[in-house]
């Protein structure tokens, strides 16, 4: 694997939109060419090199390219947008849209991420050691085609609207989440290892949610149908099994209605 290192040396006055920081955009280029890649600061065109010192050399393909950002990206948006392979590691925080529309490869953020992390993701892996704000793995605003594949792991807390319109893939929140989990989802799996305040599975058609802590306010559209033993992300426990959202349309398969499943750890 070939490593490219970006070292931030100047704080942008606005936020930088860096769709171009991805193994796909870097592959096959020299460090000098990477410095010349265009990014946006508000409505102004700037170059990656205006804000980052670029060193090392990428591989010929995205798959052979690792990117290490040796510093904080709190004012950097769109890291790894649409990336298909390779990896990005950030020493610190990142702003919105980390790994949006990502198809493959791996992103590791050692700090926190802002909203829209893994939005409409199709494949690959995102790991955030800190917290995430809102819209982890959700669909783009207005779109009914959300996350389709891949894995997002937030080791800290997450905000609201997790997995909206999710169709596939896995989202793991290791601590607590606020409200709106898997709203409108038609597939995929969300695991919340801490507590959730409420609105879990609203208008959910298909898919699974696991809550290993407590749900403060259950939605009335979910009905308990039994108790099951499950081994979820390294935790073996007994779960209350609910189906729902009973207020939503549901597909039929082999003569049976298909519901979404909500598993809440039995206390």
């Amino acid at each position: 694997m070939a490593l490219v290192t970006l070292k931030p040396y100047k704080e942008p006055e606005l936020y930088l939109e860096c769709n171009n920081i991805s193994p796909d955009a870097f592959a096959g280029k020299t460090a000098a060419e990477i410095s010349e890649l265009e990014v946006r600061e508000g409505k102004t065109r700037v170059l990656l090199g205006d804000y980052f010192e670029v060193s090392g050399k990428p591989g010929d393909t995205a798959e052979e390219t690792d990117i290490h950002i040796a510093g904080d990206c709190s004012r950097i948006k769109y890291l790894g947008t649409k990336m298909t392979a390779g990896s990005i590691k950030v020493d610190g925080n990142a702003d919105m849209y980390v790994g949006g529309w990502m198809k493959g490869g791996k992103i590791h953020i050692t700090g926190n991420v802002h909203s829209f992390c893994g939005i409409a993701m199709e494949g690959g892996e995102i790991i955030v050691d800190g917290n995430a704000e809102n819209y982890v793995g959700s669909a783009y605003r207005g779109d009914w085609r959300g996350m389709r594949g891949g894995t997002i792991r937030i080791r800290g807390n997450a905000g609201n609207d997790i997995g909206t319109f999710m169709l596939g893939g896995t989202i793991i929140i290791e601590k607590n989440a606020f409200i709106h989990v898997s709203t409108h989802a038609e597939g995929g799996c969300v695991i919340i290892k801490g507590d959730v305040e409420g609105r879990v599975g609203g208008q959910m058609v298909k898919g699974d949610i696991y809550v290993l802590g407590k749900i403060q306010y259950m939605l009335p559209g979910f009905k308990k149908i039994g108790t099951v033993e499950k081994d979820i992300d390294g935790v073996s426990a007994s779960f209350n099994h609910y189906i729902g959202d009973l207020g939503e349309r549901h597909p039929r398969s082999k003569g049976k209605d298909i519901y979404a499943n909500l598993f809440v750890m039995a206390s």
């Binding site: 946006r40 409505k43 065109r45 783009y140 605003r141 207005g142 779109d143 009914w144 349309r249």
Partner: protein, 568 residues
């Protein structure tokens, strides 16, 4: 005095029966002239095709329902909104582009005039605000009449003179261009949760039938002598088996003569006929009736049509046919917006994905093209997509490609999942017709200009006409084997001169032009009863005062008003 000469292009101008002659086209200021001086700016069109600017007779490009679509579908803009290039405005959206993108995209394709196809009268100020914000292209808007309480009440009593006086007033009040009918009676019935699916279903409360509304408005239109005929979106749109209702509506025009001073021969423009040429009695046995419908139109000379071709894209449907949009939402479960416009109309908006791998969509695609290929008179058959209902207007070049190239049609047909089923349900596979550039110019320029009563300024390159001249990178004598090149050439013109102003160069916008708003001011003899009715209805029924209803002049700051004196 600005002079331009477009030199040595292959000129295609069906209005003068010119088909590919190598000629110069001279422009002085905003008009085409015989000759210009030696100091004129020269544009070299050698080896390229030269036509007059395109005329779009039917598109939904401005106003509340377009804007509801924009608000409801932020995802329509995703990755489709490139950064602005100074001094031009940012362009955003695909099926419901921003006003700026709308103007720029039409201009890149060489279009000079676009008719907004359905203006809710109460919201006409919004329509005009958006038209004003759409650069370059000239535009008009058709207010909707066929579910309007005044019209229903007058026509129920067969009061043509009163309908005409009200129509003239509404055109003036809304700065409207002509008489649009959308699902006559059906949209009014929708206020009761009902619809009118045949021409004889009575409208609840008003007790009038769609057939009576259509006939009454044809009569009204010809009484006033408006530049355009009635423009109708018929009942039962998008329903298997609806072609018989379509033919029934056409028959209402039989024997009616056009009365106007604008060289218009038609008395009915039937829009997006693709949606109205369906056979079968369910989506299972859904099939094309394009031949039956076009056979009738071929023989009935006082009807014009536009195609409403399905382009196999993800798009946004929007129509004043409220019940239809509800029906669509029940089919696809996507987002649905619906509104009722008091006393006048209604509207709905639903996103739609015409997937080439769904059998029904493939058949719809074929029907639109079959109609375009079966048409015997390209002067009465116009290319549209009912933008954005069957697809966005930026696909016109793709439709031209399909109509001009059997190879292109076969490629699309072959790429479908249900090719054989589409072939079984349509004639598309056996149709060998390939439209010529001359016919395309009829279907996109000369024809629609004549149907709109605008053939004295648009639709031809004759001296005296508006200086709208477009150059396409196509060699008339050596057309490309690769049909993709046809689409590319029509999508981004080499040059487009709009009203004497060079607005496009090598496919890029280079000027904001001087757009105008066309509307029709029909002066009728003062009609005290209608004036009293208007005052009374506004007092009793409307939520707005009459004084706040009329479109202010400042909303159409660059008007082109067509005055008509209606003889008493």
């Amino acid at each position: 005095m600005a002079e331009i000469v477009i030199k040595n292009g292959f000129v295609i101008d069906p209005a003068r029966k010119i088909n590919g002659d190598v000629m110069d086209i001279a422009i002085r200021d905003d008009k085409i002239v015989e000759k210009v001086g030696s100091g004129a700016k020269e544009i070299d069109a050698r080896g390229k095709v030269v036509m007059t600017g395109g005329v779009d007779i039917h598109a939904h490009v401005a106003g509340p329902k377009v804007n509801v679509g924009r608000l409801m579908r932020p995802e329509d803009k995703l990755f489709k909104s490139p950064n602005a290039q100074a001094p031009y405005r940012v362009e955003s959206g695909f099926s419901i582009p921003s006003t700026f993108k709308t103007g720029y995209d039409y201009a890149r394709m060489g279009y000079a005039f676009v008719m907004e196809a359905a203006m809710p009268p109460l919201h006409s100020p919004h329509v005009h605000e958006e038209i004003h914000d759409t650069p370059i292209i000239d535009q008009g808007a058709l207010p909707v009449f066929a579910n309007n309480w005044f019209v229903l009440e007058y026509l129920k009593n067969r009061e043509i003179e009163n309908t005409a006086a009200y129509t003239a007033w509404l055109l003036m009040a809304t700065k409207g261009y002509g008489v649009k009918l959308v699902n006559p009676g059906g949209t009014a019935a929708w206020a009761w949760g009902l619809n009118c699916l045949t021409l004889n279903d009575p409208v609840p409360y008003f007790d009038i039938t769609p057939a009576e509304i259509i006939s009454g408005l044809i009569e009204t239109n010809e009484y006033l002598g408006l530049p355009h005929s009635i423009h109708i979106h018929q009942n039962s749109l998008g329903t298997p088996g609806n072609y018989e209702i379509t033919l029934d509506s056409f028959r209402l025009a039989e024997g009616v003569k056009a009365n106007n001073r604008f060289s218009r021969d038609s008395v009915m423009h039937s829009t997006h006929v693709q949606f109205h040429s369906y056979g079968g009695d369910s989506w299972r046995n859904f099939e094309s009736k394009a031949k039956e419908v076009m056979d009738y139109i071929n023989g009935q000379k006082n009807i014009t049509v536009d195609l409403g071709c399905v382009t196999l894209d993800e798009t946004t449907t929007m129509t004043a046919d409220g019940p239809f949009e509800h029906h669509l939402n029940q089919l696809n479960h996507l987002k649905w917006a619906n509104t009722d416009v008091e006393l006048e109309t209604a509207a709905g908006v639903v996103p739609y994905v015409y997937d080439k791998d769904i059998k029904v969509c493939g058949i719809q695609w074929a029907i639109g093209l079959e109609l375009g290929l079966y048409a015997k008179d390209p002067m009465r058959t116009f290319i549209t997509t009912d933008h954005p209902n069957a697809g966005p207007f930026i696909r016109y070049p793709r439709i031209i490609k399909w109509l001009m190239s059997k190879k292109a049609r076969e490629e699309t047909l072959e790429s479908m999942k249900y090719t054989d089923k589409v072939i079984d349900a349509t004639d598309i596979h056996s149709l060998d017709t390939e439209r010529t550039l001359y016919e395309i110019a009829q279907m996109t320029r000369a024809g629609p200009a004549k149907a709109l009563g605008l053939s004295h300024i648009f639709g031809s390159l004759a001296p005296g006409m508006e200086a709208n001249v477009v150059v396409y990178d196509l060699n008339f004598n050596d057309m490309p084997d690769d049909p993709e090149q046809i689409e590319r050439a029509f999508l981004r013109s080499s040059n487009f001169i709009k009203s004497g102003d060079i607005v496009v160069k090598d496919g890029d916008i280079v000027s904001h032009g001087n757009k105008r708003t066309f509307w029709v001011n029909a002066k009728v003899k003062e009609n005290p009863q209608v004036i009293r009715d208007i005052h009374e209805k506004f007092l009793k029924e409307y939520t707005v005062g009459l004084g706040n209803y009329t479109v202010w002049d400042c909303l159409a700051p660059n008007p082109y008003v067509i005055d008509i004196d209606v003889e008493a």
